[in-house]
């Protein structure tokens, strides 16, 4: 059996080297793979809280100053809000990651790659080829299925691809948790481009309702991409079955579609005589819950995997 190289750095290792999930590691990388990186989780939590604070701040500022913006200024402000929302996570991440640095260039690259894929492939595919806006609203069941099969799969695959075909094979992708980090970056990049596109297409944004949409999109896209990233991370460092990665993408697509539909339902209350028809707050609540739940579950899963690994090593051998 040809297992005497490290699966991360591809350096030859001793025959009795550490093994994990059927894969061989050198000492250094074995130690890295099972690292917990609490900074990642703090960044995730910080992102959620930060986004909510961001919404609150904008609401307060708009309430206080009642700015009357229009035209290009409004578009610029909208794009600025979308970028700020993305930068919140990056800022938290870089701050938390000071001690155990992930190559910053890589994280930023994946973020930009996610944005580029959204602009070059995702948005044209959904808007022009599938024309989701034309037919998704027509029937509730068709809308849900369409949101999963088309919106979910296109978006989640692209965010997955932004990680899988860039940093994933590199030696720097050397921890289980790296999948979550890069996935989140890719998802935020995608979300930012979506937001900028919406703002430009609409020719501006109503600041109060608009900032909520920006934050909801960012939280949701980051969460689902983080989930796919978790599957990617496990796939690199452990022997997982063939369905593992497709399952991860499918799960993310499913959640994405359900979320899209559910948000639509929640934010569209029944019409009354005065009109109404839209309330953005339930959508924000839903996105917050989804993001918190996703990162919470991922945190727990990775924690547990690492613990099992460690205890397995203690029990001797660590061989599957």
């Amino acid at each position: 059996m040809d297992k005497n190289i490290c699966c991360v750095c591809h350096q030859p290792v001793d025959a009795d080297a550490k093994q994990l999930g059927g894969r061989t590691y050198c000492e250094r990388h074995y130690a890295k793979v099972i690292q917990d990186r609490p900074g990642v989780w703090r960044a995730g939590l910080g992102m959620i809280v930060g986004q909510l604070a961001f919404v609150l701040l904008v609401e307060i500022l708009v309430g206080l100053f009642k700015p009357t913006l229009a035209g290009g200024v409004l578009v610029a402000v909208g794009v600025g809000l979308a970028l700020i929302s993305a930068l919140i996570w990056l800022a938290f991440f870089y701050r938390q990651d000071r001690l155990e640095p992930e190559p910053k260039g890589y994280v930023l690259s994946v973020f930009i790659l996610g944005a580029l894929l959204a602009q070059a492939v995702g948005i044209p595919l959904l808007d022009r080829v599938f024309e989701v806006q034309r037919w998704l609203p027509r029937s509730p069941l068709g809308g849900l299925l369409g949101a999963i099969l088309v919106i979910g799969f296109v978006q989640e695959f692209l965010k997955y691809a932004a990680v899988r075909y860039s940093v994933f094979p590199l030696p720097e992708f050397d921890e289980r948790v790296d999948g979550v980090i890069y996935g989140t970056a890719s998802g935020l990049g995608y979300a930012t481009m979506l937001n900028i596109n919406d703002i430009i297409a609409d020719g501006g944004v109503h600041l109060q309702a608009g900032v909520i949409r920006i934050v909801v999109t960012a939280l949701a896209q980051a969460s689902f991409a983080g989930l796919t990233g978790y599957f990617l991370g496990r796939a690199k460092f452990e022997d997982e079955p063939v369905w593992w990665l497709p399952g991860g993408v499918a799960l993310a697509a499913l959640l994405n579609g359900v979320f899209t539909t559910l948000r639509g339902e929640l934010t569209t209350p029944a019409l009354d005589l005065a009109g109404g028809g839209f309330n953005p707050w339930p959508g924000l609540l839903l996105a917050t819950v989804v993001a918190a739940a996703t990162f919470g579950v991922l945190f727990y899963l990775i924690r547990r995997a690492n613990k099992i690994t460690l205890s397995g090593v203690d029990a001797g051998g660590g061989v599957e």
Partner: protein, 540 residues
Amino acid sequence: MTFLVALSCGAPNTLPPATPTVVKPAQATPLAVEEPETVTEETPETPTFTGDDRQIRQNLLRATVQIFALVHEGRQYQPLWTGSGTILTPSGLILTNAHVASDPDPNYRPDALGVAITVRSDDTPELRYLAEIRAIDYDLDLAVIQIVSDLSGNAVDPQQLGLTYVPLGDSDTLELGDLLHILGYPGIGGETITFTEGVVSGFTREPGIEGRAYVKTDATIAGGNSGGLAANLSGEMIGVPTQVGYGGAERFADCRYLADTNGDGVIDENDNCIPVGGFINAIRPVNLAKPLVEAAKSGATVPATPAPTRPKPGKTSGQASFSDIVFAPAVDDDDQPTMAVTQLPSGATELYACWEYAEMADSLTWEARWYLDGEYQADVSWTPAAWKGGESGSWWLSISNENGLIEGVYRLELYVEDRKLVEGSITVGGVASPSTTSGEGLWIRGYVINANTRRGIEGALYIVLNPGITVGDWEGDEKQVYTFAQTDLNGYFELPYALERHQSYGILVWAEGYRPVIGDDVLIGDEESPYDVEVALQRE
């Protein structure tokens, strides 16, 4: 009941304005005018006809038009018959046969003339314009008409038309054996232009016409070519192919019932027939038309010949005749009905009955009897009285009630010398119109906006279903829709009908690319009317 009765002061002996003003030449015929045609002076920029034969034929082709004699059927036009014509000036002066453009008998006059221009030789002509008669001579069977508007009735500027035209030639120079190009639309609608070549085979004379009355040709021309174009090899018009024998007892040599012109769903002899057959081999020389053309151009009135009287099918000659009664909610300044109706809504305050008459005399007694639901209404009827409208023209009667006419079926019978000439009836009321609730209902208006930008959505639909139908029940049948409105470019809409109070409706707001918003059982209470709403839609 308090009815007011009005009687028309309706100008006797005037023609209905829908009929083109007819100007008739005085005596049998003005003679040929010596001066050459002045047509070309008007437009130096148009092509001259030298050289290329094919180009000449192309020019002739484009200058030949199909003319539709049209009558109003309700608010629509129906073709009565078709013929051909030739454009004489870029501004749309057209020469045709008198029997194509009109009819000496007012009963057969079309309400309008449609002009279909030739686009390509293998295409049916395109009905583009409406024309009016500028000069007409029934004895010569020639008429000059002028394009005045597009089909919607919007006036066109003749100077902007820039139509292909044919200059007038000199028909007196024709000699036996000269070659002729003959073009026209042979008969029923929808066929393409035909081109025939022939030679001049003779000339005929007619009493009252000095010089050549007809140019005979060896070419046989289908009946519908009447009014078309006969040109010499230089591309100049030398005559109008004309159905000889027209003006006798037979209106058309071969007239068939081909189209459901009266819209009763059946094609029978009640429809207007369309001339399809008969052959022409006579050409009315263009020199006879020149005075008419000049008259039409200058706008001068050509004194009229009395129209020949002919027996009218189905009616006794020499006796008074009334057209069918047309009911209308109002008449215009020319005493013509504003629109023909068979039903008036509840609350209508006035009802007009209009008809045209011919061969009446002031010495005759006439009577008008109104019936409401079969019951004679003495207070609004006209007891026998002497006629004061002269020989022919149009007339109307009206009944009115400030508080709204009593609902029911109104029947009007018209008698002359105790003989019933015509009757007609109309229903007032019985039409459930949602607008009747406007007084106490709730008017709804407002904006449909994009939730994220708070700006209006253009083209969004605000649909209110009939009470008792939920949005889920609705199968897309418009009969289940109470009312709806579409937003304008600001996202603003106004429902055309008020909603009834203390009634629940299903409401659906829809726009492409947005998630629809639905409200079932939206209760209309005692809100102040009009009521402003705002519906925010979010993009999918």
